[in-house]
Amino acid sequence: MDKPAPTHQTKTPTKPEALSREERKKQLEFQKEAVVHLHSLYNYALHITMNPDDAEDLVQETYLKAYRFFNSFERGTNCKAWLFKILKNNYINRFRKNSKEPGKVDYDLIKDFYHSIKDTRRDSSEADTDYFHSLLHEEVYQALHSLPEEFREVIQLCDIEGFTYEEIANMVDSPIGTVRSRLYRGRKLLRVQLEEYARKYGFNTGKDQ
């Protein structure tokens, strides 16, 4: 992707109606590169805030910031990764710092939210007795959220969002080796949780405890 870098200062046009060419170009590029990731960002925000209103706020702020600093986005790199990093920083700066009560989570709201769409995928064609396939979104979701944040985070970024280890390392400010071992340990922890759910529902997990 060879896009010419904007060379002019376009921050403060004198007349509001005179939208400069550069600004228009920036808008179009922003829509193509950044806005297309809106759904991913929203879902990720939903996971970390566990509150639909907060998730909306967070995504909104992320895009505001991203648009303001779009010139600093390195063209040709993964824009989605860049947006996720901004979102994460926003989250840390605002939601963590400003919330006097950490973990103020609207569980009921979240629960309703997930309930309303539950079961939509249960009967896809896999007719097997593998306990993994017996699990529903809600159980997997709960298992994921039972993990310590550092593990949940890398699993989400890798398995749901499909980022590379390098991109994840950059997002969580840790070396690739750390990402690798967190994924390894995180998946193991997750498996234990999932097996517990499965056992609860009477599936034989092949592991007696």
């Binding site: 808008q27 929203y42 995504v59 909104q60 895009y63 648009y67 979104h137 994921l144 498996r191």
Partner: protein, 85 residues
């Protein structure tokens, strides 16, 4: 390759983040080690279940609209007032 090395490489092997050379050593270890082999299968399954079962929602229309407006010059004023820093 021993089990310890194999486990270091486990997640990378699941995610296709392993080098060709590493993968060769890793796979030949799996052939002779049932434990690591089982763990590898479990790790792959765990990744799959996350991918399959975690539902991705659509962002609410209000959010979509407001993001679209961001790139609309006329709403610049709104943008200014929204910036709280």
């Amino acid at each position: 390759m021993n089990c310890k090395t194999a486990r270091v490489l486990m997640s990378a092997a699941v995610d296709g983040e392993i080098s060709f050379k590493e993968e060769k050593g890793f796979l030949s270890h799996l052939l002779e080690c049932k434990e690591c082999c089982d763990e590898f299968d479990d790790a792959k399954k765990t990744k799959m279940i996350i991918k399959e079962r975690i539902i991705q929602f659509k962002a609410p229309q209000t959010l979509i609209d407001s993001i679209m407006q961001l790139t609309d010059f006329n709403t610049r004023e709104t943008e200014e007032t929204l910036l709280y820093e």
